[in-house]
């Protein structure tokens, strides 16, 4: 909905589509400049941090999975990391590798969903993927097959794709049968080809000429592209432990949002594919770096609309990683380490498909959760999403209202916000005063 003249108008959208959850968008243009931008999140609060208090530490992975049906593995594995930190145990190598495989499944599933069903229709002027499929079914079929492969990994390792059941603090309830894991190779080989074709496809889209100035924050590891573990780092030199990061990132509750908004040192930052690429691209396997080069990406990508290319690259990476992991698979035996509760605080961080996820729990000696803090990626990205909107509107003042609204929605979708996580999504209101 928009009203006013091009120099003075309000653009608003109540219920932004093709995002996970409910939120609305409001932009006010006054005298040719943007005077107000807000992404309001009105997803009904569910009070997870409160529900967790009084529960046993072993319940956190399954309970927090219910924050988000799109990225339940991120929640489960971050909860496990935090609980294992509290118990001061390190799980064995085989469990770590199996967790990374499971997480690769979720990255493939979630990224394929976003690239094909949620984001690509914007670049092709389609309302949705069904309209896109009417033009060329083979493209959407390719995307759905990719997504299926991600789900297949999650089903094989986790038992099911939405809210897997096999994850527990310390490891897994049972180690998947090597035959079942080996059977993933064939679909994954095809998925890798489809992922490479996806990169070529999306890198040919027309991207609006918008460059952001981002402070990127992502996990880093010494020897691999961080997914299921790592140390928080930033493009401006931050390199801290998960526990220090939990102190540095301060969340604030504002009136128009049921998501808390995070800042570090009073300033916004961005997590997710663009941040991971900027900080960790040299650690991408050769096949991914070649694909990035062919797609024309430099060492960093600061055009938020090109996040779709980076997301496609991360599908390639996840397929390649998954193939390596299944080739080397050895069932963890026992499937889980025993975890004995001890009083203390545990912090866990992992890279959810849409960005850094942090869990922190305080546990008493009986293993009961006394305090819980969960910082999802969308809370951390919300301020940056608003800053992007401002740039997009400033660069798009000559667009008519409908096109400007669509551009704004697309700009929000660039960051794959999960509003169910952050507290659902976008109604756009454009006000030209």
């Amino acid at each position: 909905m928009t009203h006013g003249t091009k120099r003075n108008r309000t653009v608003s959208a109540e219920g932004v589509a093709r995002v996970e959850g409910e939120g609305s968008l409001r932009v006010v243009v006054h005298d040719g400049s943007v005077s107000e931008v807000s992404l309001d999140i009105f997803e009904p609060p569910r009070y997870f941090e409160a529900m967790l208090v009084g529960r046993h530490f072993s319940e956190a992975p399954d309970i927090t999975a219910r924050i988000c049906g799109i990225c339940p593995v991120a929640y489960q594995l971050t909860a496990c990391a935090a609980m294992e930190d509290a118990a001061r145990i390190d799980v064995g190598e085989r469990v770590r590798l199996l967790r990374r495989l499971l997480y690769c499944g979720e990255w493939i599933q979630s990224h394929a969903l976003h690239v094909y069903l949620l984001h690509a229709p914007d670049f092709l002027g389609c309302q949705d993927a069904v309209e896109l499929a009417e033009r060329d079914p083979s493209i959407i079929e390719r995307g759905l097959a990719l997504k299926r492969t991600g789900n297949l990994i999650m089903e094989t390792v986790g038992g099911r794709s939405v809210h897997p059941v096999n994850v527990r603090v310390g490891g897994f309830y049972s180690a998947p049968d090597p035959g079942a894991i080996a059977a993933l190779a064939e679909p994954l080989e095809r998925a890798l080809e489809a992922a490479l074709a996806t990169v070529s496809w999306v890198s040919g889209f027309d991207f609006p000429d918008v460059l952001g100035s981002y402070r990127f924050v992502a996990l880093r590891e010494n020897d691999q592209y961080a997914i299921e573990s790592g140390r928080p780092g930033s493009s401006d030199g931050l390199d801290v432990s998960p526990r220090q990061f939990a102190i540095l990132s301060v969340e604030e509750h504002v009136a128009r949002s049921t998501a808390l908004q995070a800042r570090i040192g009073g300033r916004s930052y961005l997590t997710g594919p663009l941040a991971r690429y900027a900080l960790n691209a040299p650690l991408m396997p050769e096949i991914v770096r070649q694909s990035a080069h062919a797609a024309g990406l430099g060492p960093t990508c600061t055009n938020p609309f090109q996040s779709i290319v980076v997301r496609a690259l991360e599908i390639v990476l996840a397929c390649d990683e998954a193939l390596r992991l299944i080739a080397e698979y050895e069932p963890p035996d026992p499937p889980a380490d025993e975890v004995v509760a001890r009083a203390g605080i545990g912090t866990g961080v992992t890279e959810a498909p849409r960005g850094l996820l942090l869990h922190q729990y305080e546990i008493d000696a009986a293993g009961t959760i006394v305090r819980a803090r969960i910082m999802p990626p969308t809370s951390q990205n919300q301020l940056t999403i608003e800053e992007d909107l401002r740039r997009v509107v400033e660069g798009g003042l000559d667009l008519d209202d409908d096109d400007l609204q669509w551009r704004c929605e697309q700009s929000v979708r660039n960051h794959d916000p999960c509003i169910s996580c952050a507290a659902h999504f976008l109604d756009l209101e454009v006000e030209r005063s």
Binding site: Y47, E49, C68, G69, L118, E131, N151, A255, T258
Partner: protein, 277 residues
């Protein structure tokens, strides 16, 4: 005589308080998804499309529970606009995990999470859709099974009754030949009182059922809990088991309440919560 092709029935998907996982199950149909979009017209599905077609709708799928006054008004409107209203998932059928707020003092949870609870417009309870409007069919599960969802939609399109089991997970275990975890003494299991639909997934990996499909028909929770009690499972652990994703489902809620009421103090006092009504 000329034959006019009938218009495709319209399908709308509505979200209330939830995690999006059950509506994702529709997209997870993957190979069947495009075929489905040829059989029905997607009229409203925010997670998938910008396009919106005004009602009325032939089929509405409703995910999530009612936790705000705005949502309460919205579900009444969805009902008015829908020929068939089908709820999908545990949140819509029983209030979901967020119904744990029903067991504490009003406002207690909000003040634990938000610095300014006064900014929120949230009800003190999370309630199932059937508390507010007539529901034509409830599909259970946290999450639902996507093939059950397909079955329900196909049945509606064919004007027949959906074939969805109402017996227990316990029977599914027997059918697939899984060794009983309860009898083997390994873990507490809600299989005997939980609705089938997952094909006894958790017991098949050596994990006790945690009740995500909610109570089965005629569930005898007291019988199960008293048996588990005598086999070394604490009242506290059993109460937590019942008070998770379907905590406010009457059979689980009352089972937990009676467990607390009949608790003998053996070691720790159970932390069972009594639902505020």
């Amino acid at each position: 005589m000329s034959v006019v092709a009938p218009a495709r029935p319209t399908l709308a998907v509505w979200k209330f308080a939830s995690c999006d996982g059950c509506q994702l199950s529709l997209l997870d149909l993957e190979p069947e998804l495009l075929a489905l979009t040829r059989a029905v017209r997607i009229a409203h599905f925010t997670e998938m499309t910008r396009a919106h077609v005004e009602g009325p709708y032939d089929i509405s799928l409703v995910e999530g529970s009612i936790t705000t006054s705005d949502d309460l008004a919205r579900i009444l409107e969805v009902r008015k606009q829908s020929r068939y209203l089908i709820t999908i998932g545990a949140c819509a059928a029983t209030g979901g995990i967020q119904a744990l707020r029903n067991f504490v003092e009003p406002g207690e949870f909000a003040s634990m999470v938000y610095a300014h609870p006064e900014y929120l417009r949230s009800l003190d309870t999370s309630t199932p859709i059937s508390d507010h409007v007539v529901v034509d069919y409830e599909l259970r599960g946290c999450p639902i099974d996507r093939f059950q969802l397909l079955e329900v939609i196909l049945a509606l399109l064919a004007h027949r009754r959906p074939v969805v089991a109402t017996h227990s997970v316990c029977q599914e275990c027997k059918a697939r030949g899984t060794v009983c975890l309860v009898v083997a003494g390994e873990s507490a299991c809600l299989g005997p009182v939980t609705r089938a639909g997952c094909n006894a997934l958790c017991p098949s990996i050596g994990r006790g059922c945690f009740g995500c499909f909610g109570p089965s028909e005629g569930a005898n929770v007291d019988s199960l809990t008293s048996w588990l009690r005598t086999h070394g499972h604490s009242d506290e652990a059993l109460t937590r088991l019942l008070q998770t994703f379907n905590a406010a489902a009457p059979a689980f809620r009352d089972g937990a309440t009676r467990l607390v009421a009949t608790s003998v103090t053996l070691g720790e006092n159970p932390r069972g919560r009594k639902e505020r009504l």
